[in-house]
């Protein structure tokens, strides 16, 4: 690029992927989950309950547009079109505004179901660390929600809180986790809970000359500490898995595991076949996977009719 551009450090890259190992035309049911969150949107396309394609995009100001953007990106490298969908379920914050969906299901149900698929049936506690909220979910071995605790009122402990920090410290959001370990000694956590006050605290640490990596460690620790409240209220029953965008930030994840004295499974597919094939693993698509699986289950059991046009 020739021109200098303003760097937006919070701006994580959008992705899409198509499974080359699946011939969708020979499958019976194409089911889709579209998770329109407050910060990111994903579309997950499954063929007979197997992961076929997905996208991970940023949510715009309009939910229907964001849903279309996610679906179109997921299908970019495929010859499948929306008319080939048998059933589509919307989930997430904007779930009722997903134009191509036949139904909406809450993201709590979808994340639990998705985590069950991604990490396996032994998962009993799911922490979904979303863009503007955080939920601790207890589920059974089929991924059915038994109860949950949620914070959607405060930005502390959410992806938005991390984006604000990335912008402030001018470090790309996906580098913060790694850099937070490049320190000599674990510093005390940022003491302010409130993101706005934490910003002030970070500015004064920067001015005191505290190394950036130490400040990242202090912020990750504060974020982990914040969400532990939710987990403690729910009670952590193993296995414990984390979904959502913050699950990619090892700086938060490792410190969180230390606080709850439990390790979360490695970020890889429970299904040995998927694992062996090295299919990409994205903690943000749990909601979309859950939604697509709900659609597949309904079609299989005859509880829903295919809406396929072509």
């Amino acid at each position: 690029m020739a021109e200098a551009k303003t760097v937006e450090f919070w701006r994580w890259p959008e992705t899409n992927w198509v499974n080359p190992g699946i011939d969708w035309k020979s499958g019976k049911f194409v089911t889709v989950g579209v998770d329109v969150g407050s910060v990111s949107s994903q579309a997950v396309v499954m063929v007979d309950g197997k992961l076929y394609a997905y996208s991970n995009t940023r949510t715009g100001s309009d939910s229907p547009d964001s849903a279309w953007k996610a679906v179109n990106l997921a299908l970019t490298d495929s010859d499948m079109t929306v008319d080939n969908f048998d059933y589509c379920i919307g989930t997430g914050y904007g779930r009722v505004n997903v134009p191509m969906a036949q139904q909406a299901i809450t993201e709590i149900a979808c994340h639990a179901r998705g985590a069950n698929f991604m990490y396996g049936p032994e998962v009993k506690t799911v922490l979904d660390m979303g863009g503007q909220d955080c939920k601790a979910i207890r589920c059974d071995d089929r991924g059915k929600v038994l109860k949950f605790m949620m914070n959607d009122k405060c930005a502390a402990g959410t992806g938005r809180g991390m984006e604000v920090f990335a912008d402030l410290i001018q470090v790309p959001v996906w580098e913060i986790g790694t850099r937070s370990f490049q320190i000599e000694k674990e510093p005390p956590a940022i003491s302010s809970t409130c993101v706005v006050f934490a910003k002030t605290e970070v500015v004064s640490l920067l001015q005191e000359g505290v190394p950036e990596n130490d400040i990242m460690a202090a912020y990750c620790a504060a974020m982990a500490h914040r969400v532990v409240e939710l987990l403690n209220r729910l009670g952590v029953e193993e296995k414990f898995a984390i979904t959502g965008g913050i699950a990619k930030n090892m700086g938060v994840v490792k410190r969180l595991e230390e606080e709850v004295k439990t390790q979360s499974p490695e970020a890889n597919w429970y299904d040995p076949e998927m694992r062996d094939k090295g299919l990409p693993f994205d903690t943000q698509i749990a909601g979309g996977i859950g939604a697509a699986l709900f659609g597949f289950a309904m079609l299989e059991r005859g509880k829903a009719k295919s809406a396929r046009k072509a």
Binding site: S61, I108, Q132, V145, L146, K147, F148, M149, M150, N151, D152, K153, C154, A155, R160, G161, V164, S192, T193, C194, V195, V196, F197, T200, S204, Q207, E208, E229, L230, R233
Partner: protein, 275 residues
Amino acid sequence: MTVAGIDLGGRNVHVVILKDDKVVAKAAGATGIQKAEAAGKFYDEALQQAGLKRGDVEAVVATGSSGPRVTFANGYIPDAAADARGVNRLAPSARTIIDVGGEEGRAIKINAEGRVQDFAVNEKCAAGTGTFVDTMARALEMPVEEMAKISLQSTTSIPMNAQCAVFGESEVVSLIHQKIKKLDIARAVHDAIAGRVASVTRIVGLEKDIAMIGGVAMNAGFVASLNRELGMDVIVPDDPDYVGALGAAVAASQGVLGEEVKAKVVEKETIEEGK
């Protein structure tokens, strides 16, 4: 007798000098990072105004969240104790004080002698503090003064869903995109913070009269929202941001160099249980 009160807060420092019980000088400014130095600087500025030297002052009492860092003070009293004395001096009929500063909001119940009976404070969350107002003014791309002014012209009440300042910023941006008039958004911002402040105040009770002080008291748009929310008019003394410093100076003149008050710390419940 010459005494001084220094209110060293999270963002601003205020200094009041009393000579024979009359205010002879005032100074204020931003604390910046070097808070203790800022206190000294504005103290000297006030002394200069009054034509005094540090040696002329018999007692200095500090207050404010960083008050204990004022090294040259002879004593320190908590904000609530300072507010109580300052309000009692300016508005003796007040029994309830609402003090909203840059980073804190507190409600204090006081008696006729200007002593703290009870108080509640929110210092953990920017919602319900001056920081919330500043953040929203930035989202509206206008100075706080302008936002205060235009909000008074609004006749439409729009609810703000966000309680958090970070989420509120996004909500304000989305309201702008929805072509909601800026004056109505400005009112919604003040209504939101007034709601939070009122809920802290209800913890100590709404005994009349109610005095509103702190920097946010200078925001007429906020005061209008607060009056609507409480269903009564609050008293706003002159220079409401100096009341803490005045109260600290009054304490110094009374020979009070320390006082303990116990607060009910309000932490907003953010966790919701679901099934």
